[in-house]
């Protein structure tokens, strides 16, 4: 068995190079801010950032100048408002002009599915009557080969690197997830390289005791990284809640590029790694985002010899 454990610094240095396409996925949950911050810290440039909902993490990365393009389906600060840095980049080219490529949610899901299963396109019932195909030539309409029907199609998407956050994995990268499943499995299978970042590294026996919970097999995982609170200020089901206060703070400070730069200096460039970030957050914050308990009934898989 290969031990795929790496530090986040090592994993980003090895797999996330300038000019690559990177998908840090997780639909409003399990968003690996730690990886985004490490990419900023290592001063990557010219990345294509892929995410259904760019969220605050891509707002920070775009403000830090790592990206040349964003591929997405919903460009907002979920539940709060707009993403000011992304809007500045798109509307005014600050700090650098940003190319965009835009789909609907199901279009992005379909692109990952086609990419993951080696299909030339994915058919879906969307985009009829919409102007989205007018501004994105990748979205096309095709006639059904089986009768009088027409569907939209989107092309496969195979990110160079996918970064997935989860509750736990073993050293080979077999990964347990519970809570929102999002597109974590689809983007991991679609990507050329996969980094899994987890709250806990567990023994292989923990994974094998509950195989229904294994969303991502070690087969497709290149690096396993242990980063507690790595998804803060987003959340990990059962481990910590969304730090909504931070999302509101970001909404206020991100209106000004100078304030953003000061925040990046203090919370990213000024810290050596995510452990330092968690120490800086402090126990009061960690206590505030600690959820109550709601355990599931256990199941018996049975022993068959």
């Amino acid at each position: 068995m290969i031990d795929k454990r790496r530090s986040l610094k090592e994993a980003i240095a090895e797999y996330v190079q300038d000019d690559l396409s990177v998908a840090i996925e997780g639909f409003t949950a399990f968003i690996c801010f730690a990886a985004g911050h490490e990419i900023i810290r290592q001063q990557r440039r010219n990345l294509t950032l892929i995410r259904m909902t760019p969220d605050v993490i891509y707002d920070q990365m775009v403000a830090a100048g790592v990206a040349r393009k964003v591929v997405f389906s919903y460009l907002g600060n979920p539940g709060v408002g707009p993403l000011h840095c992304l809007r500045r980049a798109i509307e005014k080219g600050i700090p650098v002009p940003l190319e965009i490529e835009e789909y609907s949610h199901y279009g992005m899901v379909g692109r990952y599915l086609a990419g993951a299963s080696h299909l030339p396109f994915f058919p879906l019932r969307s985009y009829f009557g919409s102007e989205m195909p007018r501004v994105n030539a990748q979205i096309k309409m095709v006639n059904s080969p089986y009768g009088d029907d027409v569907v939209a199609v989107v092309p496969p998407l195979n990110p160079d690197v996918a970064i997935i956050h989860a509750q736990r994995a073993d050293r080979q990268g077999n990964t347990h997830v519970w809570g929102l499943l999002g597109v974590q499995k689809e983007v991991a299978f679609a990507a050329h390289k996969v980094i899994v970042v987890v709250e806990e590294i567990v023994d292989e026996s923990v994974i094998r005791a509950d195989p229904n919970r294994t969303l991502i097999p070690g087969l497709i995982v290149d690096a396993v990284v242990h980063v507690p609170y790595g998804a803060h200020p987003s959340y990990v089901q059962g481990y910590y809640d969304r730090d909504n206060a931070f999302y509101l703070v970001w909404d206020a400070l991100s209106r000004d590029q100078e304030h953003v730069q000061a925040w990046l200096d203090e919370w990213v460039y000024g810290l050596s790694d995510h452990a330092a970030y968690v120490r800086k957050l402090g126990t009061e914050t960690l206590e505030r985002i600690k959820p109550g308990v709601a355990p599931a009934a256990s199941v018996d898989y049975g022993a068959y010899r």
Binding site: F27, T28, S73, W178, L181, Y235
Partner: protein
């Protein structure tokens, strides 16, 4: 929240009558596709009143959510804990939505036109935007695949426009029988719920028409907020004001979360 209506025994705000009207429209519905904010409150009010069997479907991949608190975002963990099922987004959009299992979807937008087409993409031109909005999210396929669509928006002249800056999610497109063409299985927008009035599309052209004024609202107040000459339904009604019971549930929900005015419109 300052303009309480003094003409009724039960004073209520424009937002409260909007939520109550949306909840009532869900009577007898079993599956609703819902965003956070105002639509989420409307669904929870409906479940406590006219639609006890209502199952809430969130695009983040939750079926049968029973949130214990007002969700902070579309992916709030409170939607997961205690839900009937958590589903991947591929299954959510493929099996639940496209499979025709969603009876009603609640949508909103920055702009709407007379055929219920919605813009959530951009104000100004796409390539040189004045304001870049969030984009489709799931709204485009939701508009196309939900059996029926209810739209919840504040009635404002800048939102109810003669011509959209961008058509993100189709309503009845150009009117008439557009939505019965192949490619759009759903019946499209059926109802527009605003803070001042209710509108439907029950005519051959599928054009928005005024059907009900909220109490105390004049026709002139409606005309003043519309970017085109609104068609009138054959019969114009007055919306029944919220009951004390409805208001109690709405206010319980409004106070159980840190919801700002900016995020109650809708989130696709």
């Amino acid at each position: 929240m300052t303009d309480l209506n003094p003409s009724n025994a039960q004073a209520y705000t424009p937002v409260e009558i909007m939520i109550v009207a949306a909840a009532r429209a869900l009577a007898g519905v079993h599956t609703v596709f819902v965003g956070v904010g105002l639509p989420n409150i409307a669904c929870n009010v409906a479940r406590s009143t006219v639609a006890p069997d209502l199952e809430l479907i969130y695009e983040s991949g939750v079926y049968g959510a029973q949130p214990a608190r007002q969700p902070l975002s579309i992916g709030d963990p409170t939607l997961v804990t205690g839900a009937t099922s958590v589903i991947s987004m591929a299954d959510l959009f493929g099996l639940y939505l496209q499979g025709g299992r969603v009876e009603v979807a609640l949508l909103g937008g920055a702009q709407i036109d007379r055929y219920g087409n919605l813009n959530t993409t951009v104000i100004g031109s796409y390539t040189d935007p004045k304001v870049r909005l969030p984009g489709s999210g799931g709204a485009c396929e939701i508009a196309i695949n939900a059996q029926r669509v209810f739209i919840i928006m504040h009635l404002k002249k800048r939102a109810f426009v003669e011509r959209l800056d961008f058509l993100t999610s189709p309503g009845h497109v150009h009117g008439g029988t557009t939505v019965q063409q192949p490619g759009i299985p759903g019946k499209g927008p059926q109802l527009v719920i605003t803070d001042k009035a209710l509108f439907d599309f029950a005519n051959a052209e599928r054009e928005m028409q005024l059907v009900s004024l909220h109490p105390g609202i004049t026709l002139d107040a409606i005309f003043a907020e519309m970017g085109w000459k609104i068609r009138m339904a054959g019969t114009l009604s007055e919306t029944t004001p919220p009951t004390a019971d409805e208001l109690a549930i709405v206010r319980g929900r409004l106070s159980s979360g840190s919801m700002s005015q900016s995020n109650i419109a809708s989130e696709a």
